[in-house]
Symmetry: none
Subunit: 195 residues, 4 copies
């Protein structure tokens, strides 16, 4: 028998309604313009119910990200054995996604969330590199196999970092940059053209 707790239990309906409403609002109006009051109203929930379970709107967004309610895209591709090809395919699909201004706006917004709450940054990184951290896992596997010259963690930061920089500065993300970036971080040994 678990801990002797009395009283009503957390309402899952309210819980998911809040996450869903938050996700919908981040996409529609952005992280900074979204309000707790707006979430409560959209979710049909009392404000106190939100404050009871989350400490801030960033905490809600972090959980929505983690639960895949918000930003449920998966950019991960199959493992073909060719790490360079796989990373390029992945980057290209991320770039393609970002070319939609609405998507770019959502990600700018989520970086704003990451400023307020580091966990949002982690969750966002996971989402970009595909859920549970597979980008890093694949890179570590490649490093273990000798197919990767650099530290997997730094390579991952460089890849995601370029994406984030392009998001933050609203810079274009041409497909050509995907292959070029992969070539850069995989090093000459991986057979990249010098172009």
């Amino acid at each position: 028998m678990p801990e002797g707790r009395r009283g009503a239990v957390r309402s899952t309906a309210a819980h998911t309604a809040v996450l869903r409403a938050a996700a919908e609002l981040v996409e529609r109006v952005g992280f900074e313009r979204m309000t707790i009051e707006g979430i409560a109203q959209a979710a049909g929930v009392g404000k106190q119910t939100i404050y009871r379970w989350w400490s801030s709107k960033s905490a809600i967004v972090a959980e929505a990200l983690f639960e895949g309610v918000l930003f449920p895209e998966s950019f991960l591709t199959a493992d073909t054995g060719d790490i360079a090809a796989d990373l390029t395919t992945w980057l290209e699909s991320v770039f393609r996604y970002l070319r939609d201004p609405a998507h770019a706006g959502l990600l700018v917004s989520l970086i704003g969330g990451a400023v307020a709450d580091a966990e949002i940054g982690l969750r966002l990184t996971e989402r970009l590199g595909a859920a549970p951290s597979s980008l890093l896992l694949r890179l570590e596997q490649a490093a273990a196999d000798g197919r990767l010259a650099g530290d997997p963690r730094i390579v991952a930061d460089a890849l995601i970092g370029v994406i984030v920089m392009r998001i933050l500065t609203r810079a274009p993300v041409p497909d050509a940059d995907a292959a070029a970036l992969v070539a850069l971080v995989l090093g000459a040994g991986s057979g990249r053209p010098t172009y």
Copy 2:
């Protein structure tokens, strides 16, 4: 005689007082917690004076960054001819700066500003890569000389991107990562061991 303009002229005292107060407040309370009203009060200036000359608090911060009133650090090092050594020295000094939690907090805050206003992102990038865009210039010079295998713009994004990722996720910035990152983006062709 040009445009016939009558009346009092813009007060430079008020102008610089606002920039100074904004800089002080970003450092003390952070971008998001800083308010226009707070800036006005700290600067001893009417709110209307601020709204007359700036459109938002991000515009004030962008100008403060541009004018060097806020975040006046310079990380640029002399050009020794060894691009790898120079980049490593630069990265190490940025990393050293970030190890102070107050500095890291300031930069997190400024990324928050970049979310609100892309220009803050540009100004911040310039500050990190040293004023007027010298990081990019140096990389372009190196590319022109054949000392750089990748696209200078992508290399710059990767370098700054890693810094931004570490700031956003509040991850540690060990000195060793500086050399490793430089080796990564310069590639084996630059004559550095990949450690």
Copy 3:
């Protein structure tokens, strides 16, 4: 030249709109159910404008009473020289007013206001005894002329006190009680039969 004051001046439009809205709301929903937010909305005014000038909703009601915006009835009658007759006429008109349940409700409500703020009690007493305290003045005049046996202040309290008791206990106020009460407080010496 008066005190050197800078900045915009208090808006009389907002001021009177608040008093009017408060008066309307006390009558419609009662003192306790009336909210500051409701007043602000009905007056088309920001909440802060209310809090800037009044410390509580009772302060607003007290001022509305004082200014005659709320409860502007005047029960005072002409001075015929016959204090007993005048007081009886006055009491009868107050009783007649109270027989309307809406009026009785308003007065119960205002007594609730008096509980929160003694000034409301004073203003209310003035209103009941007719503006500027004429009940007391008439009684003092009568006492000076030897037409009143008791302390005018106590006589006034007894008269108003009976009214307040009937309001508080929602007891009926038959016209006959008016003459009886006047006879009681004026005493046999005033030439009226004690019925």
Copy 4:
């Protein structure tokens, strides 16, 4: 053992705990600042238990008054046969009680309760005139004996009314006013000085 009933039985302990907690809270924070939640917590009782038995906080206070849990003072004096002396003694003891600001505050608060619920007014009147309505009984007895010139109900209202007025307006209650008021309402026939 009576009827074979299982489970917990209606708790009288909870009942009295609620009344006691309510009494304690009215005295400590006042009627309007006291909350149902606060009573429940102070009584160690669930909120639902309160709502099951009482319809509002005024109902609780009314019952606490009726049961003598709250405001258990007794101002009644012995019947010496001299109605004027007895009433004066009684009024003086009420006035003495009111001179303690804490007591005056409690009574202001209870008048606030009477505004919310007329029954509180009745119970309060009874308490002031001593438990079960003895003030009125004594006056009726005096009237029957020809010792009272006025309608006993009006006399009672005038006596209590003056007390209530002094409470509501926070006016002083000098001992001298006791005799004067009694003289006023008993009329010249009772041998009062004309002063």
